[in-house]
């Protein structure tokens, strides 16, 4: 018998006034599935989830949850009792002044959970999320990741059969994100839950049993994550080549990512050899080195789908050469020089002797979990917050004494979208041109340049609030660039932006840094973006704990922990227990894949194959994978966290 559908949508549409939020969606979520809705801000995920949770009326189509047609508020009532809904926003449904336990108790009473049942369930959930030690702490003092875990407990306290989680991991760092997913997966398996979860992070896609890619209120594709990549009928060809060869590739292939001399080419061809052939027809085989063919990742597929909808609005931007390349004297040509930079907020040390340098023409990524001190570092270097101790020099001048003049050499884009949404594109640009004191003719020239750079032609009179996220961020970048600064600070510039928008944004960043010598310091939670930086610094607990190029970081990590092996199976749970039984205690489940780190890949492969065969799991595939920045980041932070805990435990003794 077919697995019964828990959620069924057909021809579903939702409008807000004239704006169509969701258009003609047909979806099916089966019992026991972890179903993902993936898309950028404004894709229509939230409207869809609110309708499923029975809190939003809709115009067209049908929506059945638990087999009940949700066509009136009365029909939705019995359904609501059987589901849990966690709205978007970090801890927005929780009460900041109540403690962890009080929050849980409140939601339990709201759901009429019997006191005895509440006691056991609360303990179980607290233990599972490792929040037990924090039960008396007020919610407002929890970290982002902990808030989301508390939100999950409150959603689950009445033992629902279906949970609807709207972007539970947005704004949460990769480590807490991975933790959240592990807990969620575990809960789904233990309780036979069904979950509808949305996310803006494409790298989380492999964690879902099935997913739908959403854009502008439509579903572009849906299915199992692996089958989506296979069904795309395309290959990724990776190779190293010189600059002229890369330029040739760029003219032939619309979807191409380059980093230094390395290129990832998206070839629309369903065969490894033919795909390779197509690339080698464009460039001479001799100029291509270490060429390899892969299945596309979900992000590649998504970008390809988006590209078919709306071709890139702007060509690759080129700097007009207005910035003078005259190096700024002092600091040995360093654009940013931070030495033992420290900032205390009362008793709390947010940044602890952070030291690093950034050169002109370099994209420098500052990584770290929420609360590691990244934003405070940026605020100190831009002069918003004065340091408690240490030196921060930007463009050759000390931020503390340089006064207003230094600010003209610095551009800044803050974490939240910080333009005036009630002003038009042109009015925002006019404002910042004025703020930087540009004379009218120069202001006019710069505005034309920024509009071209950001691909904002034709949108000059559009209210900023009605622009999609990707364009808004490009405009924000434009406003930060209007005075053509030598140093640019970007705090999580691409969060909530669709993958194509992110790529376009990075094209601009690379042009600025590599062609025009602007120094860029940015923070990001997207580990794919961290990979694209020229240099990375990892922050933990206010300190800089690693400082190297991405390649160097991965190499160091490999030397320490070995090679990454990935086991793909339709039965990941059994594979995991089989591997753990065979002595691979460090094996980690990653959606349908199991990751194992090993120093001796050859013997490990044999041991894994043997273990799988012994458990009748011979159909599983075993692949040697390249390390991703996320692997490195998560492992490093976890190791630091555990040594931190040990150190603290020792100091207490």
């Amino acid at each position: 018998m077919e697995n019964p559908a828990l959620i069924e949508l057909s021809g579903f549409s939702k409008r807000y006034g004239k704006t169509v939020a969701v258009h003609d969606i047909t979806l099916r979520v089966e019992r026991g599935q972890l179903f993902g809705l993936i898309g950028a801000d404004g894709a229509g995920k939230s409207s869809l989830m609110k309708a499923v949770a029975g809190v939003l009326a809709f115009e067209e189509g049908s929506l059945r949850v638990f087999g009940t047609e949700l066509n009136s508020e009365r029909a939705a009532e019995p359904v609501k009792a059987r589901l849990g809904f966690m709205p978007q926003g970090l801890g927005l449904n929780l009460y900041p002044d109540l403690t962890v336990e009080e929050n849980i108790n409140f939601f339990a009473r709201l759901r009429l959970v019997a006191p005895a049942a509440l006691r056991t369930r609360k303990e179980a959930l607290l233990a599972m999320t490792r929040l037990t030690p924090f039960r008396d702490r007020a919610m407002k003092y929890l970290s982002g990741g902990m808030k989301q875990k508390l939100g999950l407990i409150c959603t689950l306290i009445h033992t629902p059969e279906l949970i609807v989680l709207d972007e539970p991991t947005t704004g949460v760092d990769p480590v807490s994100r991975r933790d959240f997913w592990l807990i969620l997966t575990q809960l789904i398996q233990q309780e036979g839950l069904t979950a509808l979860v949305s996310t803006a992070y494409l790298d989380e896609a492999s964690r879902f049993d099935a997913l739908a890619l959403m854009h502008n209120g439509r579903v572009l594709a849906q299915g199992e994550p692996d089958s989506l990549s296979q069904r795309a009928g395309a290959r990724i060809v990776r190779l190293h080549a010189d600059r002229s060869a890369l330029t040739a590739l760029a003219t032939h292939f619309a979807q191409l990512e380059t980093h230094d001399d390395e290129a990832r080419v998206y070839v629309e061809c369903d065969d490894d050899l033919q795909a390779q052939q197509q690339v080698l027809e464009v460039i001479a085989p001799s100029s291509a080195q270490s060429l390899s063919v892969h299945l596309p990742e979900l992000e590649d597929v998504f970008v390809a789908l988006l590209r078919s909808l709306e071709p890139l609005s702007a060509s690759t931007p080129h700097w007009t050469g207005i910035v003078e390349h005259a190096p700024v004297s002092g600091d040995n040509g360093h654009a940013i020089y931070a030495a033992k930079l420290t900032r205390d907020f009362g008793d709390f040390r947010a940044v602890d002797e952070a030291s690093f340098t950034v050169n002109y023409g370099e994209i420098f990524g500052l990584l770290g979990a929420n609360g590691a001190g990244k934003t405070t570092v940026i605020k100190m270097l831009t002069g918003i917050v004065p340091p408690s101790a240490g030196i921060g020099r930007v463009a050759g001048a000390d931020m503390r004494h340089a006064g207003q003049a230094i600010k003209e050499r610095v551009g800044y884009m803050s974490q939240a979208f910080s333009l005036y949404t009630d002003l038009t594109v042109k009015e925002n640009l006019l404002l910042f041109a004025g703020v930087y004191g540009l004379e009218p003719p120069l202001a006019e020239e710069r505005m034309r340049w920024v509009i071209k750079l950001g691909g904002l032609q034709g949108l000059e009179r559009t209210a900023t609030g009605s622009l999609p996220m990707g364009l808004r961020q490009r405009l924000a970048l434009g406003c930060a660039l209007i005075h053509q600064p030598r140093v640019l600070f970007l705090d999580e510039p691409t969060s909530g932006v669709d993958p194509m928008g992110r790529r376009h944004f990075w094209d601009i960043l690379r042009t600025l840094a590599h062609d025009d010598g602007v120094a860029i310091l940015l923070t990001t939670h997207y580990m794919r973006e961290a990979d694209q930086c020229d240099h990375l610094a990892l922050m933990f607990d206010g300190r800089v704990v690693a400082d190297a190029t991405p390649a160097q970081m991965k190499a160091d990590f490999s030397a320490e922990h070995g090679q990454l092996l990935e086991v793909r199976s339709t039965n990941p749970q059994q594979v995991l227990s089989a591997l753990q039984a065979a002595g691979f205690a460090q094996a980690i489940q990653h959606g349908h894949h199991i990751h194992v780190m090993t120093h001796e890949p050859d013997t490990a492969v044999l041991r894994i194959r043997a273990a799988l065969a012994a458990h009748g799991l011979a159909d599983a595939q075993l692949v040697a994978q390249a390390l991703t920045m996320e692997d490195v980041f998560v492992q490093r932070v976890l190791a630091l966290e555990s040594s931190h805990r040990h150190a603290r435990a020792r100091s207490r003794v």
Partner: protein, 398 residues
């Protein structure tokens, strides 16, 4: 020998001028932005339009110091000619006389429900006592004093009317027998200046305008600054080469201009045009003073915004500021009747200094010299608020 030293001075001057022009351009960018935002904020814009137009009109129609058609119940137990004559005098437009059943319970109920403002009881034998003139004839007036202002008006109007009526009752014969030259009398010659007809509308609309200028010039800059904090746009301004003073001045200047425009409409169109309120002084002097006052209040608004985290809070703080400013200003009450300790505090109310300026220029046609003292006090107060506001604005991001 003079030339070489002259040239560098010129160059220096040009540099200074360029720096000032740049300073101005930066502030202008903020001003234009504030106007655009206000024009697109429908709620705030409707509020501003309302307080400078309809609200002033409403104030013109609001009841105040004149007694008009107060419902007066009359119980006539005398049924005499004199009683009827007296009742006839207590008539429209001051009183709306209604006959009432002679029943204590009914009377009580009517007063309780507010259907009557007062009840006049004419006792049995009223006319006889009056004519015999051996002793005063008693009348009883029961007044609902829950609204003490209205009760006071009913008292004074009825006393005056009854007093005049009594004078006509003093028969010329009786008076003549007392003394041939008649009774000693004082005749008071009242000469009202600045508002000859004692038109209450002049006073109430000007008072309302003063209140609204105060509200607008505190609220608008406070809201503009809080909105930036709320949305996080303030950070983008703080990393720019703008000084905190420039950010604050941009907002203040933009909103002072809005307040000036609003007052011009309120005075020119609504008060002078529609309601015939006079404008006797110099127009330029008056609007210069409005600008000065708006800036003083704007300093308070900026100060308020540094304490608020969001728009809701700033609204409450502004309310907390506006109420004492108005109560301590002497707009609606007499300063002389306040307790002594309060009379010291009033110096801190900017409106207290602005009240004599406005009435002076509008109604008395006062010139600059006549209003110099309050103007100077107001300027000092405003400078204090601004310095405090900008200092706190700088500090709160540290």
């Amino acid at each position: 020998m003079l030339r070489p030293s002259f040239k560098p001075t010129m160059r220096k001057l040009a540099l200074v001028a360029a720096a000032y022009r740049r300073w101005g351009r930066q502030v202008m960018a903020i001003i234009v932005k504030e106007w655009r935002q206000l024009l697109r904020d429908r709620a705030l814009l409707s509020f501003v339009i309302f307080i400078f137009s309809l609200d002033i009109l409403l104030a013109a129609g609001a009841p105040g110091f004149d007694l008009h058609m107060a419902r007066l119940g009359v119980i006539d137990r005398d049924h005499s000619l004199a009683a009827r004559d007296l009742i006839y005098r207590l008539r429209a437009p001051y009183f709306d006389v209604r006959a009432v059943v002679d029943d204590a319970l009914v009377l009580e109920r009517l007063l309780e429900r507010g259907q009557l403002r007062a009840v006049l009881i004419i006792p049995h034998g009223f006319e006889r006592t009056l004519v015999q003139a051996r002793q005063p004839a008693d009348l009883q007036l029961v007044i609902d004093a829950s609204n003490s202002n209205l009760a006071y008006l009913v008292t004074s109007y009825s006393e005056r009317i009854i007093g005049q009526w009594t004078a006509t009752r003093q028969s010329p014969v009786a008076v003549a027998t007392l003394r041939p030259g008649g009774l000693p009398q004082v005749r008071l010659q009242i000469h009202t200046r600045f508002n000859a007809d004692l038109r209450e509308l002049w006073f109430s609309t000007i008072s309302e305008l003063l209140t609204m200028i105060t509200v607008a010039s505190i609220l608008l800059p406070a809201a503009a600054l809080t909105r930036e904090k709320e949305r996080g746009t303030i950070e983008q301004l703080l990393v720019s080469p703008l000084t905190p003073l420039q950010i604050v001045s941009g907002k203040i200047i933009a909103m002072v201009v809005v307040t000036l425009l609003g007052s011009a409409v309120a005075i020119g169109v609504v008060m002078h045009g529609l309601l015939d309120v006079p404008f006797r002084g110099q127009v330029v002097l008056f609007f210069a003073m409005v600008a000065l006052y708006a800036m003083t209040c704007a300093g308070l608004g900026i100060l308020a915004a540094t304490f608020a985290r969001n728009s809701g809070q700033v609204g409450l703080i502004v309310l907390l500021l506006v109420m004492p400013i108005i109560l301590l200003s002497g707009t609606w009450n007499y300063i002389e009747s306040m307790p002594n300790w309060l009379q010291v505090l009033i110096e801190l109310s900017p409106l207290h200094h602005f009240v004599p300026i406005t009435y002076g220029i509008l109604l008395k046609g006062a010139d600059a010299a006549a209003i110099a003292l309050p103007a100077v006090k107001m300027t000092l107060l405003g400078a204090g608020f601004l310095v405090l506001g900008v200092a706190r604005f700088k500090r709160q991001f540290r």
